[in-house]
Amino acid sequence: MVFFAIPFAIVFKISFSYMVPAQPGYAPLLEWFAETQRLVATFNLANYQVLLQDTLYLSTFLYSLKVAAFSTVLCLLLGYPMAYAIARSAPTTRNLFLMLIILPFWTSFLLRVYAWIGLLKTNGVINNTLLSLGIIDQPLVLLYTDFAVYVGIVYSYLPFMILPLYSNLEKHDLTLLEAAADLGARPVKAFFKITLPLSMPGVVAGCLLVFIPAVGEFVIPSLLGRTDQLMIGTVLSAQFFGARNWPVASAVAIALLLLLLLPILLFQRYQQRELEASRR
């Protein structure tokens, strides 16, 4: 909590300061003037006004939410069958599959995103392969598109979807499915009536684990994404490190946090309820 609260307090403080072209790049909120013997507090709400007035921020926020939401849905659609297959496979192959899911974490995240540039670029591996096979005769524009961002995010965050889903699905009591079959439900019906509702905690956990970091993602969109449409994470890092406008950057960070607070709180409420239900 300390590791969250203290940095949060600092950022929160900075978000109300004036920017000064100095080191550090913001004016103090409270200043002691020796001559007048006064403590002067200067609050600056302009940083937040900027967020509301400049349409750049609103559009990047919305774009980030859209990208994160679609990526989450894609991760769920891809991850659910994978998690299901792993959970239902024999124990020995199960461990192998889990290893394969975790294996990418052994290399740097940045390196893996750079590797996608090599795959997606105009004379990259994918285009060259398709060209040499004669499937296309013009290289496809893959890099620096929404598509590339989705590929990057889905690829990077898929394990965070699969692992909570797997740990949920693996605990299911399979006699429940036998009971459903016994009562006349075909396998597909039994899946939607029994397995899916019971796996909801895993679905919720997986979706939040993908959605929350995806909203603030800046490495993937800045390396693979469009240049005309930024994501909020990119803007944030540009403000901090590029423009060195720490107060506005802090305001962006606080706004982002408030935006994500809602799903986080919902998740915690949900977990609490699940915990209570399982305890009884």
Binding site: D173, T175, L176, E178, A179, A180, A181, D182, L183, G184, A185, R186, K189, K193, I194, P197, L198, A277, R280
Partner: protein, 369 residues
């Protein structure tokens, strides 16, 4: 209370030479069995005897390696569980944890496509029968073990199956509740007239529930009969030993007449006279089985005559309604005797007293296998 109507002419369930192999292991070995309409049939056996595998084949979760299963004349081969006119009550109950009691019971009817009002009517009717009407809105985790058991029963019965399969139906209940539930189950079965096939390892459960019992051992049915037949006239050492407790003596036939036999046992000082004939080769090795409650015990020094032996009391276990005595015969064998505690202030036989044990000529069972 309704009278159970067992139609002995109607072989409702026919199992014909069914075998089930898992790799090299033969779980069910060439079992043939007929179960009549309206009866409670118990498959009784120890763990791993194949009784659960047989039940799962009836439900359709396993398919026989060879043989046929016919329910009401219809061959079940290739018919998946969700199309069989059979419902099962699982040992773990397998209630759907995310559904209310009413939704659990309604599930089967919904799959059949029964109309909503009809479902609601039948569910509430069924919940009233199992006395759970007021719990309809609860989730399974808010119920006690006994209540869950009744939900499982209601869920399986609401579809009016031709056959209800029950896997250790009382296994998860405590002793007091078991006894109560046993009688409820029998009442319910008589009321609804559904044919029950019960799997259990608990011989007491089988004895009270069943109209007939099939005793299983190593994948085979070793004896089929009413509870009385199984207990009083076991056909093998396995059955005699598995159902209740029994004193077993090895011996040789010394006299074999149609109306009686005499057997010489090395462990007993006297010969055993049995007042019914048996079918065995002369001089064959046989086993004499005598139930502990069929032995009469009196104080006394010497034993004279047939069916009478002397010994010393070594252990007494007071069970309340009866006492179990372990008596060491003069030949060294321990014999188990149970005596009902009829009077409270009776001078009971105590440790190390010399006693004489006696039994009626009709009491022993002579077994050849």
């Amino acid at each position: 209370m309704a009278e159970r109507v067992v139609d002995r002419q109607n072989q409702y369930l026919r199992i014909e030479g069914v075998t089930k192999r898992f790799g090299d292991f033969v779980a069910v070995d060439n079992v043939s069995l007929s179960i009549f309409k309206g009866e409670i049939f118990c498959l009784l056996g120890g763990s791993g005897c194949g009784k659960t595998t047989l039940l799962r084949m009836l439900a359709g979760f396993e398919s026989p390696t060879s043989g046929r299963i016919l329910i009401d004349g219809q061959d079940m081969a290739g018919i998946p569980p969700y199309e069989r006119p059979v419902n099962m009550m699982f040992q773990s109950y397998a209630l759907f944890p995310h559904m209310t009691v009413a939704a659990n019971v309604a599930f089967g009817l919904e799959q059949e496509g029964v109309a909503r009002p009809e479902i609601e009517r039948r569910v509430s009717e069924m919940l009233d029968i199992v006395k759970l009407g007021e719990f309809a809105k609860r989730k399974p985790h808010q119920l006690s073990g006994g209540q869950r058991q009744r939900v499982a029963l209601a869920r399986a019965l609401v579809k009016k199956p031709k056959l209800l399969l029950l896997d250790e139906p009382l296994g998860a209940l405590d002793k007091k509740l078991r006894e109560h539930t046993q009688f409820e189950l029998i009442n319910l079965q008589e009321q609804l007239g559904v044919t029950f096939v019960v799997v259990t390892h608990d011989q007491e459960e089988a004895m009270t529930l069943a109209s007939r019992i099939g005793v299983m051992n190593k994948g085979q049915i070793v004896q089929v009969g009413t509870p009385t037949e199984i207990y009083e006239f076991p056909n093998s050492r396995f059955v005699a030993d598995f159902i209740g407790s029994v004193n077993m003596f090895e011996g040789r036939l010394i006299e074999d007449e149609p109306g009686h036999v005499r057997i010489r046992c090395d462990d007993l000082d006297s010969t055993v006279f049995v007042s019914h004939g048996i079918s065995a080769a002369p001089d064959a090795k046989v086993f004499v089985a005598i139930r502990p409650e069929k032995i009469e015990m009196n104080r006394g020094a010497t034993a004279e005559g047939e069916n009478c032996v002397g010994g010393v009391v070594r252990e007494i276990a007071y069970m309340g309604d009866l006492s179990v005595y372990l008596v060491r015969l003069d030949g060294g064998r321990m014999v188990r005797v149970t005596i009902p505690n009829i009077e409270r202030h009776e001078e009971r036989i105590v440790w190390e007293e010399r006693v004489v044990l006696r039994w009626q000529p009709s009491s022993p069972v002579v077994l050849t296998q």
